[in-house]
């Protein structure tokens, strides 16, 4: 189980990486944490002709608070996010998701950008960043562009990132205090990719209750469950404390949205059911947090 030969390039900076990507290493793969790519190469299921190693670009590793947003560099390792006091304080849902990703050895190498660009539908970060309404900054030879996470993921292992672009940063807006949140995942074993996952975020925006409910696993990309979001927003706007009664409806709506979505991965009743159950439980947990700050 050894990788096929490839050309190896080491990028010391972002401009250098772009230069390689558009020149000597055109058509090559970007190597970030390598925790998904290298196993595939060892199995010879991936056989890039060239690799551009981005790991030396340390200036893309940071977590900072800027203009009401948390900016995270694409080469920030999972472990840095897991142990970041800033994330724990400002983005508790992201803080909570980190220990559920793989295992310590994976998190010591895995990077935010690598995980997002790989776009495994069963991964945690695409789901939670979609819920957080992150903006993803991509750079190409003609400059930067920005995409919202929910537009970035377009299918299994597929994003809008082109072969000539590099993901540079994620910017996550800080939601208002008093937010409710939850992230629940179901996997066969601890640390495995999710069979189903749900991220829920409740917050007030411009004085109005806002909800984001995103599911993953059973769909080929993070899916916003808009019917549930609307239901929750209306209910919270009424300052109602009777979410309990809505829970079965939330589960039903989730299952039905997944089933009717073009993003549904396979016709699996079990996975749909699982997604509905998790959505219901996550909403409950988020609402409990919301009402007991």
């Amino acid at each position: 189980m050894k990788p096929a030969p490839f050309r190896y390039y080491r990028a010391g900076s972002l401009p250098q990486a772009l230069e390689l990507l558009n020149g000597a290493a055109e058509g090559g793969k970007l190597l970030a944490g390598g925790q998904s790519l290298v196993p595939l190469m060892n199995l010879r299921l991936a056989r890039p002709e060239a690799l551009i190693d981005l790991n030396p670009i340390r200036e893309l590793s940071y977590i900072r608070s800027e203009n009401g947003e948390i900016a995270i560099g694409a080469l920030t390792r999972h472990r840095e996010m897991e142990f970041s006091a800033l994330i724990a304080r400002e983005l508790p849902v992201l803080g909570a998701v980190m220990p559920q990703i793989g295992h310590p050895a994976i998190r010591n190498r895995g990077t935010l950008g690598g995980s997002l660009a790989h776009a495994d539908p069963a991964a945690e970060l695409p789901c939670v960043l979609t819920a957080l309404d992150a903006k993803l900054i991509m750079v190409g030879s003609s400059g930067e562009r920005v995409a919202r996470a929910e537009d970035f993921f377009i299918g299994t292992y597929t994003t809008t990132l082109s072969d000539h672009e590099i993901l540079k940063e994620a910017r996550i807006p800080l939601t208002e205090a008093n937010a409710g949140w939850s992230f629940l995942e179901f996997s066969r074993r601890h640390g495995d990719f999710a069979l189903a996952e749900t991220a829920v975020l409740l917050f007030t925006k411009d004085g109005r209750a806002s909800a984001r409910v995103v599911v993953g696993g059973s769909v080929d990309r993070p899916l916003r469950v808009r019917s549930v979001e609307t239901l929750l927003e209306n209910e919270l706007a009424r300052n109602s404390n009777s979410i309990e009664n809505l829970l079965p409806e939330i589960e039903r709506l989730t299952v039905s949205e997944v089933q009717n979505s073009e993003a549904a991965r396979e016709d699996s009743e079990y996975l749909r059911n699982l997604t509905g159950v998790l959505a219901r439980r996550a909403v409950k947990e988020a609402v409990d947090r919301w009402s007991q700050p």
């Binding site: 030969p5 199995l43 074993r189 601890h190 640390g191 079990y270 699982l274 159950v277």
Partner: protein
């Protein structure tokens, strides 16, 4: 004999090498000019090999040689099946003419390193003509099924129906007959170190040296010698540290393959499976189906069994029927069932060859039996503990011979059950369960009891082979007091993580009255140095049954000689001497002594001080065979394995009925392996085997699709339990010594793997009792559990 060392919790001395990274595992062995082999494997479950073009691969830089099945037929003979077949089948180290499972070796390359070897594999062009595959074992044994070996005319390798006792009579008189069908999946223990070997062929003698982690040298040697046309004296076989075995590490075809590549290239050749190869092609435990009928009296006495058992052997034509025989031998488990009909089938399919795996057959036996006992209790409205208690073989009736001839030498099954019930908190559980149900939590308690027989009696294979190719059981050891008085021990069975070196040193230290630290036990098996015979190797939990006797026997030979020599030198009668504190001394006047060093000085150097008729040196070899091994009698009863430990497992689980997730909240193990030589080792083996059982119950499954494609070829798809999934174990022990082993010890390595699946499934069913959910197959994946719950709710 003083026994300051036996029974003591000595920390396994092997551990120090391993915690410092100094294990001499096969992948760490290397030779100058050594080549690395890689194997091209069939992508088809079943296909005719139309042509193989190796021209490009042969020319590839770094490649020393390429081998195809066709060449293999010219350089080796077919591997000889251990069961008689009507005609010889072309089972070579590489597929010849046909590929019979996904992952079957089709061609091989030896190159300067494994990277290059894998590159070269991609240059080999194979033209296949895909054939329909036999996948389902029951369909596979019917006429018209695609045949793996056409000359055999059938995929059915073996079928026999055994009747023990008055089966028909018992069933006629039974108040109740309960029938159930049970299924078991393919799984495997997947040792963390994969299979490997290095072959160095010297054509000038000719002579073959093999370094390997194959755990059964005694059986591998004759197979290899026959295939390569070598005398046994032309093969040297070496084991060093083995990174786990569990029965899986036995693969003569790979040894032959490496030897042929070495012969072709003129250089040593190393082959190490990668994990994908290990999962697709080393060995799987048989999947299978068992139709079980039990005859029960009005008051709950289990009277008789009718069993129809189908074992799916995959493409195993080398050593099939092992699972079947072990199910047959132990089919009454720990119960006083009087009559048994066993209708057994061993069937080939286009899947990975089956073979030995922790517990072999017995996990399925126990799964079916212990699930059935719960079912009988339910149908009769009896308590499942009481029903078991009523049917257990009693300690007073030991030794007990089962209808199939199995010999339960010792044990206190009711006490195992009592301790288990106490340890798991059975009596308070019902309340806990009722309370949890009011909170919407589904808790369940399940338990299972199991016999854990050890030490294969080779005679049992006569039932399937109809030939006396081997009989009995044995192992060998050598003990030698070196000329400085230190003690060297060489074992036939070096083990693969079971602490054999520590246990052997404990035994020898006591026999020779020396300090444990003075005894060195070699971690190597080397056929030039180590005493061995056909039964030599690490399998069947046999350390306690044969190895201990060999170690003790060898030590006693040396002991006797030491005493004779010391008596001569001290001018004392031998019976007045004892061995203690590293010396032979007078029992009455302990200061009147000769140290081992002084005696060894005489035995090896000052030879004229020896008694005139005494052979120099202080060395003893011993081949021990347990006296209780027998041959099948006229009724075809045989002692299948010779010494019987037992275990009881109980689990408390919680089932999330919305997701199907099972959480193990509590796990209790009561184990009885007779005299405990080293509690540290025993405890570790009990834990480890149980984790294997948990894996089989909840996580592990080799999945083949309907066409015979294997879908689980990495550790991402084939799921092993991790530290998060395996619970902390509560353990308790009984010691019912065997009257038939030298120290009263019995086997310990399999006891966890056998009852765990049954205990867990019983627990899940107990949790879901109000829904009436039943499971007949494994593993209990969340999806399977959820589907079953849904089915039960819609009924």
């Amino acid at each position: 004999m003083n026994s300051p060392w036996t029974g003591k919790a000595v920390h396994p001395r092997e551990d120090r090498r391993f915690v410092t990274g100094r294990g001499q595992y096969l992948p760490n062995v290397s030779f100058p000019k050594m080549l690395h082999a890689a194997i091209l494997r069939s992508i088809h479950p079943h296909a005719r090999i139309v042509s193989i073009d190796v021209t490009e691969a042969q020319k590839f830089p770094g490649v020393a040689c390429v081998l195809t099945g066709e060449q293999a037929t010219q350089m080796s003979r077919p591997l000889r099946s251990l069961i008689p077949l009507p005609v010889e089948v072309p089972y070579y180290c590489l597929a010849y003419e046909k590929a019979r499972y996904v992952g079957e070796p089709v061609a091989a390359v030896a190159a300067t390193n494994r990277y290059v070897a894998e590159d070269a594999l991609e240059k080999i062009r194979v033209e296949y003509e895909p054939l329909p595959a036999a996948v389902d074992p029951e369909a596979s044994m019917k006429p018209g099924a695609p045949l793996l070996f056409e000359p055999l005319g059938s995929n059915l390798l073996w079928h026999d129906c055994f009747n023990y006792g008055e089966v028909d009579e018992v069933f006629r008189q039974a108040a109740h007959v309960v029938r159930e069908r049970f299924l078991i999946q393919r799984y495997s223990s997947t040792p963390l170190e994969t299979f490997g070997c290095i072959a160095a062929y010297d054509p000038s003698r000719p002579y073959l040296t093999l370094w390997t982690n194959d755990q059964r040298p005694g059986q591998a040697m004759p197979i290899i010698a026959h295939s390569l046309g070598l005398a046994h004296t032309q093969i040297r076989f070496i084991n060093s540290d083995i990174g786990g075995g569990f029965g899986n590490k036995r693969k003569p075809p790979y040894l032959v393959l490496a030897a042929v590549l070495s012969k072709l290239s003129g250089r040593p050749v190393q082959f190490i499976e990668d994990r994908r190869e290990n999962l697709m092609a080393l060995v799987h435990a048989c999947n299978g189906a068992m139709d079980l009928e039990v005859a029960v009296s009005e008051d709950g006495q289990l009277l008789g069994l009718k069993v129809r058992d189908i074992a799916d052997e995959g493409a195993n034509v080398l050593n099939p029927t092992v699972h079947s025989l072990l199910k047959l031998g132990n089919i009454t488990n720990c119960y006083t069932i009087r009559a048994v009909q066993f209708d057994g089938y061993s069937v080939m399919t286009n899947k990975c060859p089956s073979g030995a795996n922790r517990g072999i057959g017995k996990p399925f036996m126990c799964f079916a039996l212990e699930r059935m006992v719960d079912e009988v209790a339910r149908r009769l409205g009896k308590d499942r503990i009481e029903l078991r208690r009523q049917n257990l073989v009693s300690p007073e009736s030991m030794p007990h011979t089962s209808p199939t001839g199995s010999f339960i030498d010792s044990g206190n099954f009711p006490e195992t059950l009592n301790k288990l019930v106490a340890l798991i908190g059975y009596d308070s559980f019902q309340q806990e369960q009722a309370k949890a149900r009011t909170e919407g939590r589904w808790l369940g308690l399940g338990l299972a009891l199991a016999v854990e027989p050890s030490t294969s009696n080779q005679s049992s294979y006569i039932l399937t082979t109809k030939k006396r190719t081997a009989s009995g059981a044995a192992e060998a050891a050598m003990v030698r007091v070196e000329s400085d008085g230190s003690v060297q021990v060489v074992l036939g069975d070096v083990g693969s993580g079971q602490g054999h070196q520590t246990a052997a040193a404990q035994i020898v230290a006591d026999e020779l009255g020396v300090d444990f630290e003075r005894v060195h036990v070699s971690p190597y098996f080397d056929s030039l140095v180590s005493p061995w015979l056909y039964t030599t190797g690490n399998y069947s939990n046999k350390f306690s049954g044969t190895d201990v006797g060999a170690i003790q026997g060898a030590a006693r030979k040396v002991r006797e000689k030491i005493i004779t020599l010391a008596a001569h030198l001290l001018s004392l009668p031998p019976q007045e001497l004892e061995l203690a504190d590293g010396a032979a001394r007078s029992k009455k006047e302990p200061h009147n002594r000769k140290t081992l060093e002084e005696l060894a000085h005489v035995a090896y150097r000052d030879l004229l001080a020896l008694p005139p008729d005494m052979e120099p040196a202080l060395e003893g070899r011993f081949y021990y065979r347990p006296a209780i091994a027998n041959l099948p009698d006229e009724q075809r009863r045989v002692r299948n394995q010779l010494f019987v430990s037992n275990a009881g497992h109980a689990a408390v689980v919680e089932v999330d009925i919305e997701t199907g997730k099972i959480s193990i909240l509590k796990y209790a193990i009561v184990h009885d392996c007779g005299t405990v030589l080293n509690p540290v080792i025993v405890e570790g083996l009990v834990h480890g085997a149980t984790a294997h059982g948990i894996g089989a119950a909840l996580y592990e499954e080799f999945v083949y699709d309907e066409q015979g494609q294997l879908l689980t070829t990495t550790f991402v798809d084939y799921l092993k339990p991790t530290a998060v999934e395996v619970p902390d174990f509560k353990t308790d022990h009984l010691e019912s010594p065997s009257p038939f082993t030298p120290l009263g010890m019995k086997g310990v390595g399999e006891g966890g793997a056998i009852p765990a699946p049954a205990a867990l499934v019983n627990a899940v069913e107990n949790a879901l009792e109000p829904l009436g959910v039943r499971f007949s197959d494994l593993p209990l994946t969340p999806e399977r559990v959820w589907q079953a719950i849904r089915l039960a709710r819609t009924k």
